[in-house]
Amino acid sequence: MKKVYERNNIAFDMPSPYCPGCGHGVIHRLVIDAIKEAGQEDNTIFMAPVGCSILAYTYLDLDICQPAHGRTPAAATGIKRALPDSLVVLYQGDGDLAAIGTAEIIHAANRGENITAIFVNNAIYGMTGGQMAPTTLKGQKATTCPFGRSPEDGQGYPIRVCELLQSLGGVTYAARTSVHTAPNVLKTKKAIQTGIENQMEKKGFSIIEILSACPVNWGLSPQKSNEFIANEMIGYFPLGDFKKDGKIIQRSDH
């Protein structure tokens, strides 16, 4: 029988450290598959964030750097400048990248650091127990916006990161994908591959924003969580390419 799928040995032989229905497990797999297919597992430095996916370092057999909360793009800059031929992959959540680390991501992107950022947007702080994130949707409830996020009451608007970064000269690639259905998982894989290829071809900064479920902190079942992505998140965070090969993609949705 032909084997069409097997374990990726970049992941240690252990259960996923994530909650049932969480998108991180799927996204980790896509990232390590793309690294392995590119033959880069011995050349990769994986940047773990602060947030749930800090647990990546318990799970992945890669050289891993775990910097301070939000400072991942700055630390990645230091690594990449010191070792320009290594493959540097950043893995950041919405609190890490779009709140505490906003300055670092904008300036790493603007300098055109030749790195690949995987930005997991689940619209909530997971590890600390479900606080409002910079990407929490209007009306969405969290422990620190128990009545639903209200921009009118000073809680701000959900930040669209790809739209924010696409104007920066150093960004070669910005795309938003999702992992709530199988076809979207495949599109996410393709986008991650593009981000890694860009780095290997020294094209500059790539970011792949991935909409991902957090059933536990959303208070929904895994199935309902995927429906939430389809019915609520994608309307505000439209999927697709925002920038490719350094060119802004003209879109009708913004």
């Binding site: 992945l60 750097c65 301070a68 230091g78």
Partner: protein, 351 residues
């Protein structure tokens, strides 16, 4: 030996760092240390290194964190308010056991303060500054020559202990020009292959990290760090004792104020007053034993600082009530005048 050159303290520190093999410098503009990033932008890049003007001091220290992960000799510099911003990063460097050199060309505070010289960052430098139990070796050069020498040494010490090292100067040291001769760097080699990231080539994966949620692990790391801090304290102390043997009054001062006190010692010795100076060259580790040793026979210790009195606490702990302690301090960018110190000294001797 190289030839004699005339340089600002800031430039000498920058040049010494490059000569010591520092290849990655990250900084953010702040007076009075701007000559360091400017020197790096011009000289480090053409000598094959990396210079980045970061978006903030926070980004700069985290770029240092990243570069240090690869085994590169990395450095950042700033002045007091910027060093406050770097404290998070310094704590992480210690926690992740990464070597780096940080330069503070201190200025008046608190707050935005001014751009005049100050020693008011002493507590921050030697008592922690960032969160968690940690120490780092803190050098306090007195001259441009010593600033260059200690900068070179700082990289070796950082690599030896896998710990950040701080050079604590002030606006006078950074801005004044003095002749100096660059010494040869030690040439010591440090094998970092057991922990650095990158160029894996089939070896086991490496992790640079300061977090563990498993019970007892962080406590164990702390005990291991303590062993390292104890070794640093035992082996890295530097102190100068100047004309102390027969002294009735011993000044205790470091950096710029040590220069002022040395001048007072010269003047007063000519007038027959028996004065001396203990100059900590490292303020961590602190020369507790040196000071304690003199407290047996010298009755007066005179601490002079450009602050409201911070090092005086460590002097007090060394003396443990065995002698009288006097203090002269100027905060917020004020510089102690010899005449004022002299006046106070005479009052002490007549008491």
């Amino acid at each position: 030996m190289g030839e004699k050159q005339l340089m600002k303290g800031n430039e000498a520190i920058a040049e010494a760092a490059i000569r010591a093999g520092m290849t990655c410098y990250f900084g953010y503009p702040i007076t009075p240390q701007n000559e360091i990033p400017a020197y790096m932008a011009k000289h480090l890049t053409i000598r094959g290194g990396t210079f980045i003007q970061a978006e903030s001091e926070i980004a700069a220290i985290n770029m240092v964190y990243g570069a240090a992960c690869t085994g590169a000799r990395a450095m950042t510099s700033s002045s007091s308010p910027g060093i406050s911003l770097k404290q998070e990063g310094i704590s992480y460097l210690v926690g992740a056991r990464l070597p780096a050199v940080i330069v503070n060309i201190a200025r008046g505070g608190p707050g935005l303060g001014n751009i005049a010289p100050s020693q008011a960052d002493y507590f921050q430098a030697v008592k922690g500054g960032g969160h968690g139990d940690y120490h780092m070796v803190v050098y306090t050069p007195e001259t441009v020559q010593e600033a260059a020498d200690l900068t070179m040494k700082a990289f070796d010490v950082a690599d030896e202990y896998r710990n950040p090292v701080l050079i604590l100067g002030d606006a006078i040291l950074g801005q004044m020009m003095e002749p100096l001769v660059f010494k040869e760097p030690s040439g010591k080699k440090f094998d970092k292959s057991s922990w650095t990231l990158g160029n894996r080539k089939g070896r086991k994966s490496h992790l640079i990290n300061s977090l563990s949620l498993t019970e007892g692990v962080v406590e164990q790391w702390n005990w291991e760090l303590k062993k390292k801090f104890d070794l640093m304290a035992e082996r890295e102390l530097m102190v100068e004792e100047y004309m102390v043997e027969d002294a009735d009054v011993i000044f205790v001062a470091y950096g710029t104020t040590a220069r002022i006190c040395r001048s007072v010692v010269h003047q007063t010795r000519k007038q027959g007053m028996k004065t001396g100076l203990i100059r900590p060259i490292t303020v961590w580790p602190f020369p507790t034993e040196t000071i304690a040793g003199h407290a047996e026979k010298t009755k007066h210790f005179f601490v002079v600082e450009m602050s409201l009195g911070q090092m005086i606490e460590d002097v007090r702990l060394a003396i443990l009530g065995n002698a009288k302690i006097h203090f002269h301090g100027r905060p917020g960018g004020g510089i102690p005048a010899e005449a004022d110190i002299l006046k106070q000294l005479k009052a002490i001797l007549q008491s």
